[in-house]
Symmetry: C2
Subunit: 409 residues, 2 copies
């Protein structure tokens, strides 16, 4: 089966606002085996919307509409759908009573304008929306289906899940889904793809999707089959080949971010971590503490952004800093060592580099970053040259620091 | 004039990828006074795309298409547009020569498949694309206009700016644009809107747009007029009323972020800043150092995430922490004082709070955050209760800390 999604609202035809409901709906439809063949955004204009709905219903068996069900005069989805289907709108006293009850519950007076929301297309079924005043609507005739859903995501999603999904499942063949969600650090997207494309390309099922961020590659496998056993066997087979090819560059098999994977390793070892950050200014600690519960293994550290802070807060030898330069192996090593000593942590990470846009350090190109790691067994530092602008270089540095410690554990 | 935008590509009909080209194009068109009445995403299917193009050209004078101009068999925009216009595709030897030259320049061999890119719709003009192999195309007939643009933003934008924009400007009445871009901290979106809606609502021109993030409200004023003088007079008049209503809650008049506005104030005073962060773990320092050149005024600080670090790194009195609790006015004050002392900075900010999702501090609700500020004149702390989840609470805390110091300067 195929579907079209129409998002209604003039605000989504401005530069500031993008329709994101359709991404969530596409995901839900794909899980059922329904392909989306077209997405549109139409403004709050009854005739334009009626025209769009009419065409969509001509060419596609399932049409989902989000938005335009509110109480104001801009909300024209009901009227436009009725026009497209050439059917009248019928007043439904039960809907009006529910809206009045909702207003009473919140101790507010219902404005008369809300009565507009109590009209159903003739022959349509009401889809309850406990999180808002406007119910959704479902209209099915001659193997054409139209769903009208509220626009706010917090209303749209429950209405879809509770009312549209069961109706679609009832008419679609059963599908079982099994997935794998790998995350890889320390490799670029093209390197990952070069390595695993020969492995996943021969497979139609599972479908493989690769997404990339700075120093972080996500590999999604999805298999749809008639039974769970078959789907599991398929993702397990392809997954095993991908795991063999990537080895320990895979840091997560369930989609957890790198700081969570690292935290798990530290927790198992009852170990703790501290940081000393120069060019990242605190981003590494900020990223680590995104994980709730990180206080079990993250102690804290030092933001030694200014040059003088490296001697003042971490006690680095001024002559060493002068001789080696702020962005150097020796300084990265001394920062990690001192952070470990001064906090009492089991491990410490340090970052010192030049994030640009202009180099503040003579002779050091933006993107040059030394990352140090101090462990009970010793201390070392690695040199990186990251591409991109300031934000990207700093994101790469944080990711590489987390990965360096992961590989040492 | 009105326009429609069609984005071509099956990848934008998946849950993972959204069309963002249309946001940029909408902004460009709005600047010319052109309203976008509809946006669509169509997959790589020739007949579907030809149908969408045909309908769009029937109802709208200007249709912009992005994507599907590449060399592969999935790239069908040329063929679909030719079909929609009922015109043949003509081979253009000059385009082929340019593509071959480009491959030679990068010392690569042109695959035969690239010849597909050398076809123009009969009657169309070629739009040079120096950043890629596929040129754009422009077709105008009987006051209907169709632009075919490459999909990659780095190719699409220059082709639009260099070739489509001049063609549109030539036929549209001249418009001068003047803007104001205010940013406001320390107020919620609804409070800002309640205060200034009576001021901006009577104005059709300038158009006022309000965008909100955690603790940060952006107010955009845009006036389009026949002359720059008139547009400037209009934004100046409305801008003055808005500035009078919001006073020093406006931290930027040119759209600069809060850390840049604060940095400017510190630079003027030749002053420096240090931080001590508990629940934000380094985010405040990370945010401050997003601004290039922040090393002129930001020294660094202490990530005292774990409880013991507050005594160990900052020297806080253990009895004080025990008696008052980690999330307390006294601890926020002691953190700010110690950070100022130990770094030698002119000013210091501290953050200690409970970011959730579960409270790690008995009796302290998630969202409770104390923010301290130490200045040469003394030290104080303010209590906040922020809404939302962990990420939002931490973003609010960072923004509120920056704003607290701004107000003290």
């Amino acid at each position: 089966m195929t579907a079209e999604i129409i998002a209604v609202g003039s605000e989504m035809l401005t530069p500031a606002k993008v329709d994101t409901n359709s991404l969530w709906l596409t995901d839900q439809l794909n899980l059922l085996g329904v392909d989306v063949t077209r997405k549109s955004v139409v403004g709050d204009d009854k005739d334009r919307l009626a025209g769009a709905l009419h065409r969509a219903l001509e060419r596609t068996p399932l049409v989902l509409v989000t938005g335009g069900l509110g109480p104001t005069e801009d909300d024209l989805t009901r009227e436009a759908a009725a026009q497209a289907l050439n059917r009248p709108l019928i007043h439904d006293p039960a809907i009006l009573a529910a809206i009045e009850e909702r207003f009473a519950r919140f101790k507010r007076k219902m404005a008369p304008i809300n009565k507009r929301q109590a009209f159903l297309i003739e022959g349509a079924e009401k889809l309850d929306n406990p999180n808002g005043t406007a119910p959704g609507q479902w209209f099915a005739l001659n193997s054409r289906m139209l769903a009208l859903l509220p626009g706010p995501p917090g209303e749209m999603k429950p209405v879809f899940l509770n009312h549209v999904l069961p109706r679609l499942k009832a008419i679609l063949p059963p599908r079982a889904l099994r997935t794998r969600f790998y995350r890889v650090a320390g490799m670029g997207e093209s390197d990952v793809d070069q390595l695993i494309a020969p492995i996943y390309k021969p497979y139609d099922n599972p479908v493989t999707t690769i997404l990339a961020a700075a120093g972080d590659i996500q590999i999604h496998l999805r298999s749809f089959c008639a039974t769970e056993e078959e789907a599991e066997a398929r993702v397990a087979e392809l997954g095993a080949s991908i795991e063999a090819a990537l080895g320990n560059r895979i840091y997560s098999r369930n989609g957890d971010p790198l700081e969570a994977a690292l935290g798990e390793l530290l927790r198992e070892r009852k170990a703790t971590l501290a940081v000393a950050e120069s060019c990242t200014g605190g981003l590494l600690g900020g990223r680590i503490t995104e994980a709730p519960g990180s206080s079990a293994w993250f102690l804290g550290g030092f933001q030694v952004y200014g040059r003088a802070m490296k001697t003042r807060l971490l006690g680095l030898d001024e002559k060493l800093v002068d001789r080696e330069g702020v962005v150097s192996e020796a300084v990265a090593i001394a920062m990690a060592e001192s952070a470990r000593d001064r906090t009492g942590a089991t491990y410490a990470l340090s970052i010192t580099g030049e994030a640009g846009p202009e180099s503040a350090t003579p002779g050091i190109e933006p993107g040059t970053v030394w990352i140090g790691v101090a462990t009970p067994a010793g201390v070392e530092a690695k040199l990186h040259r990251f591409p991109g602008g300031r934000a990207r270089i700093r994101a790469f540095a944080v990711q590489s620091a987390l990965n360096l410690l992961r590989l040492r554990l």
